[in-house]
């Protein structure tokens, strides 16, 4: 163990409370400082924020389609985006840890007054007229209106009918309407209005059959709403933020209502901003792909599609997870530098282009391979019932909280993750049970063996754990790990021996005792889950036999008991 390095607990402080991983949109909007404060702006996320902010500041409405898998952080993204675009307390921007973003946009956005309509489509029922997208938008605009504007602004067809009655109907039309109410309800329109809600009154006016301009086309209706809100409320634009669009998409796909929904979105993201020059920003988050009709390749062209945790931004995941689970102690940057120098000297992974010093610092104290494995495991969430992307935060948090790890002087490695309760529970699922039993039986062999020293046993556990997780993270195409990679992934460090040699020695010995561990010089080592899934008894018996043979006390007592 390198003695010059500080213990991890002197460099990092684990977050005192378990990080929240499923933020709820409305709840998150109600806690601005907490929501923005724990949001990590990776380079790629900053670019997306900047794009949306630029559109808002330049008053060029635009649609953005945010696509990401389940648990990838869409809701947190939307809540942070909404708050930064619409919250007017200066202090909120202090919570933004990205200094460049803060400097560039704080002042400009503080001058902007956008009217926010933020909602999730989760939980609406199917086959219901109320579930039409236009109705959902109307309902949410009404909910978002400040109390002083509620009675002044007409949003729905019923509202427009009442407005027509109050402001536009001529005497002849009113007489016709009076006749309708008398015939249908035996009362005057005024009497009906006193007894029923505004909505019911409007609905009844519409039943009269008179010609009323209800602004039935989506474009007319939204334009009418926009004009009223911006003029009466003093806003200089509108912001629509829609979460969980996939759930609506799934309910309506292949039906006329789906086409209608696309038209609604096209109106908001294209026709009104581009052709009518209205400053409407629409951000839709979905697990699903943007419908072809709504795709736009550039600014001013329907929806611009952006992905969270996309493959091309591989470092995002590790940076976000690390940020959420720990803080770096004040003045500890120099200590991290020492770890970096030590690792660079001992191992090759820091010399590879993808592990820059910045990334090493951003994910400290995790060995980068940890996030490769967690990402693969959580990406197969739907296929294998494993925890989703957000579970990586729990796995990292639970691992980092282990006291012996914090007292240690090495980076957290892949095998350490197996101590997380969240991961352990995921691995007991049917899809993994056989492999997990196989892994456990391999550990039992090591634990009961007298051939390994305590230090070697510790390293052997790390090797087995790493190879096992590597195998199940990529079940279809897990390649063997060359010794150098294995030494790095396990942070093997034995005084006087090179990491590669130490691993070679141990892997060779493990291979002799544990059939799951396979090694050849050309490809490296791997854990063969399939090979070891059957024949549990045959695999376990030798270890149990050895253990029993070594336990002379119990042998003696068994003899005595027999007599």
């Amino acid at each position: 163990m390198p003695t010059g390095l500080k213990e991890l607990q002197e460099i990092v402080a684990v977050k005192p409370e378990r990080p929240q991983t499923t933020p709820l949109l409305r709840d998150a909007l109600g806690k601005p400082d907490a929501t923005v404060g724990c949001y990590y702006f990776t380079q790629s996320l900053t670019k997306i924020f900047a794009e949306v902010f630029d559109s808002a500041i330049n008053k060029k409405g635009q649609g953005f389609w945010i696509q990401a898998e389940y648990g990838a952080g869409k809701t947190h993204f939307l809540a942070t985006m909404t708050l930064l675009l619409t919250h007017k307390e200066n202090g909120l921007w202090d919570s933004v840890h990205d200094a460049a973003l803060r400097c560039q946009y704080r002042d400009a956005l503080m001058k902007l007054k956008l009217f926010p309509v933020t909602f999730s489509l989760l939980g609406a029922g199917e086959n219901d007229a109320e579930d039409r997208l236009m109705r959902q938008f109307e309902k949410e605009i009404i909910k978002a209106l400040p109390p002083e504007l509620r009675d002044k602004i007409s949003i729905t067809s019923d509202d427009l009918a009442v407005r027509w009655f109050d402001q536009e109907a001529n005497e002849t039309e009113k007489a016709g309407l009076a006749h309708h109410f008398q015939k249908a309800h035996n009362c005057t329109p005024e009497e009906f209005r006193d007894r029923r809600s505004r909505q019911q009154f409007g609905a009844e006016i519409r039943k009269s059959g008179l010609t009323i301009d209800l602004k039935g086309a989506f474009r007319d209706r939204f334009a009418h709403v926009y004009q009223q809100i911006t003029q009466m409320g003093g806003y200089n634009g509108m912001l629509f933020v829609v979460d969980e669009f996939r759930s609506w998409q799934d309910r309506h796909y292949g039906r006329p209502s789906f086409e209608e929904g696309c038209q609604v979105l096209e109106t908001l993201a294209y026709y009104l901003p581009v052709e009518s020059n209205m400053n409407i920003i629409t951000v839709v988050a979905s697990q699903g792909e943007c419908p072809q009709k709504l795709l736009g390749g550039q600014k001013g062209d329907r929806f611009i599609v952006r992905s969270l945790l996309a493959n091309q931004n591989k470092t995002d995941y590790g940076e976000i997870v690390a940020y959420r689970v720990r803080d770096i102690q004040p003045n500890a940057a120099v200590d991290i530098d020492e770890y970096f120098s030590y690792c660079r000297e001992q191992f090759k992974f820091l010399r590879q282009s993808q592990t820059s010093k910045e990334y090493f610092k951003a994910i400290f104290p995790f060995q980068p391979r940890c996030f490769d494995v967690i990402r693969c495991l959580t990406q197969s969430f739907e296929r294998h019932h494993l925890p989703s992307a957000r579970a990586g935060i729990h796995i990292a948090y639970e691992t980092l909280k282990m006291q012996d790890i914090l007292e240690g002087k090495r980076l957290l490695v892949v095998a350490d993750l197996l101590r997380s309760e969240q991961l352990q529970q995921g691995l007991t699922d049917d899809a993994f049970r056989a492999g997990h039993e196989s892994y456990r039986s391999a550990l039992e062999v090591v634990d009961s063996s007298v051939a390994f020293s305590t230090e070697e046993k510790d390293l052997a556990r790390r090797l087995i754990g790493t190879l096992y997780l590597w195998a199940i993270a990529m079940p279809e195409n897990a390649r063997a790990l060359p010794l150098t990679e294995l030494a790095e992934a396990t942070m093997t460090s034995i005084e006087g021996v090179t990491p590669d040699d130490a691993v070679l020695d141990l892997v060779t010995r493990l291979k002799a005792e544990i059939p799951q561990i396979q090694y050849d010089k050309t490809h490296g080592a791997r854990f063969d889950v399939a090979e070891s899934a059957g024949g549990l008894f045959q695999r376990q018996f030798p270890a149990l036999k050895r253990k029993a043979k070594a336990d002379t006390d119990r042998q003696d007592s068994a003899w005595v008991k027999g007599h």
Binding site: G123, A124, G125, E130, Q200, R251, Q422
Partner: protein, 159 residues
Amino acid sequence: MKVSLSDVVKKPYWSKDICVWIGTETGVLKATEGERNVSLDLLDLFTPGEDVPADDMGRTQLIELRLDSKLQELRRDLPERRVLILKNAALLARYRVGLGPIYDWFGGDKKMAVLVLTSQADFRLPLHLNRDVKCDCEATVDYLTSCLANQKLVFRERQ
């Protein structure tokens, strides 16, 4: 392997786990045993004799409004891990109220909800009505299922 309600309840962290339980209240209490819960009867959102809107649309809006505000209050008052047991959930189907407020306030890491429905499987129409009236015993379940983010989270109590 089919997941049971107990399996969902035992998850260390929940995520949008809103379930439907078709069976008795005793059954749901047994399935959620070991986890702290809070019960809410939808009928308790109204006082007996209260003047409610005459039309369905008005009632739908009122239920949604009251449910939203009650769940928000429960979430605020009970910050720790909790299972919400929602009784008389059939009322939501009757008035086509969506589950939005339940996802909004009980869909996070520390909160989940179980909507309890009494089984209608044994219900039989009187013979003399059979020709004129069709009874769809699954309509309530179907509606609530259609509102779920994960439609596998519908559990029937074993008899």
